[in-house]
Structure formats: C-alpha cells, structure tokens
Amino acid sequence: MGMNMFKDRKKRQNSDFPEAAYEWLALLEAGDITPEEFESYLEWRDSDPCHVKAMEELQKEWREICKVPVPQPRAWSGVRHSQNNSKGRNWGFAGFIAQLQSRVIYRAGMALALIGIIVGAGLYQYISSVTEIEKTRVYSSARAEMKTITLDDGSTVHLNAQSRITVNYTGNERNITLEQGEALFEVSHNPVRPFLVYAGNGKVQAIGTQFNVKLMPDFNVMVTLVEGVIRITQNMGKHEGLARILKIPGEMASLRPFLDTDKDMAQENLPEIKITQHSSNPFQDVLSWREGKLVFQGQRLDNVLYEINRHSNHRILLKSKKAIDMPVYAVFNAGDWRGALSAIVKSYPVKAVQVSNDETHLVAEDE
C-alpha cells in the first residue's frame, strides 16, 4: 500500500483537484477502514498541502450530502424516477411503501405483511382526492377504544378513546389536526420537515419529541410535554399569534378557544397560553390514560364524566346543575363505569338513575 495506493492520474482536469481524493474519501467512508489503510491515507494527505485542502473541501461537501436521504434506486422501484417530475416523491404514501420495502426487505419482510393486514382491516379511512405527494388520512378511535398508529415517517400516535386526527403529510411539513379527544405523539426526528399538531386554535411544533395534546369538549386545549422541546403558537387569525416554548418535561400549556378574533380583541378577551408545571412525572397522571387509568386532580365533575364516558359504552349524564362545579380527586379504571359511578354517588350530592341499558343520569339527591 503506502502513499501510492491511489495514483493521481496524470491527465488532470482544469483545476488541480487531485483525482485520488475521491478514492481516499471512498475508503474513509467504506465503514470498515483498517488502521493500515488509514495510515496510508494520512501519508498521502500530508505529502502535499493541496491534498489536505482537497480533502477538507470534499469531506465538508460529503457531510452536506449525507444530510439528504438517498432515494430508492430506480432498478428496485419499478418506476423510473425520471418520469416522475415531483421532487417530493419520497414523501408520499407510495414513497413510504417503497422506502419501507427497501428498508425492511432484508431484515423484516414480515413487518410489511403485518402493515398490509392492518391497512386491509381498514384501520384508517383513506381519502383519495389528493395529489401524489399530498395525502390526507383520518384516524379515529371509537368509544372505549384506544389505538396506536404508526405514521409514514415512523412517528407514533397513541389515540385515546373517542378521538380523531387528520394526517396531512407534504414534502415540507407533517401536519396533524386533533379534531377530537386526546393523543400522545412520539415524533420521529426530521429537522427539515416540521411536525405540526393543530388543536383548537393552538399549534404545536416539535422535533424529535413526545407530547400529549388534549382537546376538551369546550375547545380548550391542553398540551403536556413528555420529552424534548416543543413550540406552541396560538392562531389569532390576522393578528400575530402568541408563541411559547416548552422545554421541561411535565410542563403543561393551556390554550383557551379563540373563535371570533375581532370580537374577542374588542372585548379584550385576549388569548393566552398559560404554562404550568403540571407534574414532575407526566406519565403518572396526564399519560395515565395509556395505562388504562383515569386520574383526576380537581377537575370539574362534568369534565370527569366526559372522560369516564369516553372509555365505556355506558353513558353517565349529569342532570343536576348543583354538582357541576364540584372538583373531583380520584383514580378510576378506564371502562369501569360502575366503579366510578358508585364512588361519585358516595361523594357528591347526587343519585344515580339508570334510564336505559346504556345510559344513567345523575340527578340531585333531593329531587
């Protein structure tokens, strides 16, 4: 070997860029360079200042190149890239499947089959009135049902009961709208394609992180950070929105609904993003729903019932105005509406009247 391992070709290009530099870079990037090879590289590099310069330039450029995902080779895709003018081709659904195939084909072909089955089972509704690179999908969970969904980019969404999200991925952005309920997001890293969650009039932006978003029936939004950093902005129509950044796990941001911008502005009903340190261990209460526990720490009874009802096929309705504001401190098992009901009846001035197989009313005790 030695310094003549790769000879500089005599016929150089117009520039005096040493041709051997490409071969040395290929060796450095081989993934299994040996110490002897590395030493001969150093020998070559240090034998001429122009080699040092060339390698610096080449390696810097190569680092940039390594930031771009490599498209699937056309020989594997069956579709010639040159016929596809869309530059965002790898971001679409077809691109996802293609990428998935190429990534798992050697290691876990089964994964693809499994996904096929899930897709076939109709886990999601697919709306086809969209372009090649821009597709919208709706995922929803029924009452008493929780779901975990893996999105095209590897991000995961855990849907709480009776929740619905719309997913719209484009080349530049990953847009998700929480239309109902609550979801925990585990976001896969991609600095150039922000992950955005819209809920009510809030927008949460994340890079490589975990957070929980809850849309209340009254359109209040609660966002809890589990891990990483997120940026929350409030949509205020034509006015500049507020933005806050959450960095500490367990921090919770609450946003009020802001439906009619001008009217709210006139009434000085200004929107705000209130940040509280919800809990030092966000898994314990905010995310307890993932473990099938419903934890309440002073929430209003009507909100608590909404939560309990989401997790069972039996509906408990509050028919007494008196008890509506009563704070609830309790832990219930999701789905165990009977247990929750008996605890509520014992602690609050209400009594239960079962009106049908799947509905119970809570009325004032003295009625």
């Binding site: 290009q13 041709e19 490409y22 071969e23 870079l25 290929a26 060796l27 450095l28 990037e29 081989a30 993934g31 299994d32 360079i33 040996t34 110490p35 002897e36 590395f38 030493e39 150093l42 080449l58 450029e61 190569w62 680092r63 940039e64 190149i65 390594c66 930031k67 771009v68 995902p69 490599v70 498209p71 699937q72 080779p73 056309r74 020989a75 594997w76 890239h81 040159s82 530059k87 190429s102 990534r103 050697y106 530049n172 890293h189 600095p191 150039v192 922000p194 932006q205 994340a206 890079i207 490589g208 990483g228 950093v229 997120i230 940026r231 950044i245």
Partner: protein, 177 residues
C-alpha cells in the same frame, strides 16, 4: 514498570508522549468516526485509546507510535461492533441536536436545503443502476463496502471504486462543473 531514565527525563519523555497524542488526536478521531459514525462514541474511543497508549508506553518502548495508536483505536472499534451492531447515525443527527433550543428551521435554511436536495436528486438520477444501488446500500442500509461486495459478488476494492466514481460525480455536479 520502572524505566531506566532518571525522574526528570521520564517527565520529559512523558510530556513528549502526551504531545504525540495531542498531535494525533484529530486523526484518531477521524479514524474512529470513519468506523463508528457516532460522534460521542468516537470521542469515547479516542479517550480510551489515549489512556491505553499511555499505559502501554509506561510498560515499554513503542517503535511506531502512530501505527500503534491506530491499532488500539481499531481494536476498540472492533470490540464495540462485537458488543452490538450500531446503526449509522447520520451527520444530520448532530445538526438536530444543535438546533433543539430553537426547535425550528428558518425558511432560508429550509429553502437552501430544498435546493440542495433537488440538485442531489437530479445528480442521483444520473447515476447508473449499479451505482445507485451501491450508494443506497452504503448510505441507507449502512452496509460496509465489503458487505456490499459480497452481495454483488465483487471485491471490496471494486465497491470503493464505484463509491469514488459516485463521489466524483456529486463533487463535479455540486461545484457546477
């Protein structure tokens, strides 16, 4: 353990050895990063290499310090691979971490990246089928050139030739030649 030198001479010799390590440090790192592709792991291996080198030096003369240092680093990377086959962490991971405080990419950066990616994709389209496959396997599947060679029944050297062609193609294409 005791070296024949007097205490003072030994101190000077020790300083020289540390000096050698300092000079070599950047290259040891370059070697490690070429093998493990992970900044933190590479730093760790550089540290460990220096510690082991000093220990070996105390135990006796080392004829070819540079060769010895890279041999130590090489063995450490091998040990690492035996423990667990790590996934390649692309350079963009480091970029992400640097960015987390702001947690966003400016429109200018995004545009710059997008233009770069478009040019990259065009240049990728120009590659031959075999070049595309080799490039993909190296970058996205993290196969080494030797592994790719086995796959296509060609030598490691041949795979590196292909990679060099690909690198030249991108370099020429991106620098506007």
């Amino acid at each position: 353990m005791d070296r024949p030198d007097s205490g003072n001479n030994q101190d000077i010799a020790h300083d020289e050895t540390v000096n050698i390590l300092q000079i070599l440090r950047a290259d040891i790192y370059a070697f490690c990063i070429a093998r493990v592709k992970d900044h933190y792991l590479a730093e760790e291996i550089v540290q460990e290499t220096c510690v082991r080198y000093l220990k070996a030096w105390q135990e006796g003369d080392i004829e070819n310090p540079r060769g010895y240092v890279f041999r130590i680093a090489f063995n450490l990377t091998i040990n690492h691979f035996r423990k667990k086959k790590i996934r390649a962490i692309d350079a963009d991971m480091e970029m992400d971490e640097a960015k987390i405080p702001g947690a966003e990419v400016s429109p200018e950066e995004w545009l710059r990246y997008k233009q770069f990616r478009d040019r990259f994709n065009d240049l990728f389209d120009d590659l031959s089928d075999r070049q595309q496959k080799i490039f993909y396997l190296r970058r996205m599947e993290d196969l080494t050139t030797a592994e790719i060679g086995q796959k296509y029944n060609i030598s490691r050297r041949m795979v590196q030739k292909y990679m060099a062609q690909i690198m030249k193609h991108f370099h020429k294409g991106l620098s506007g030649e």
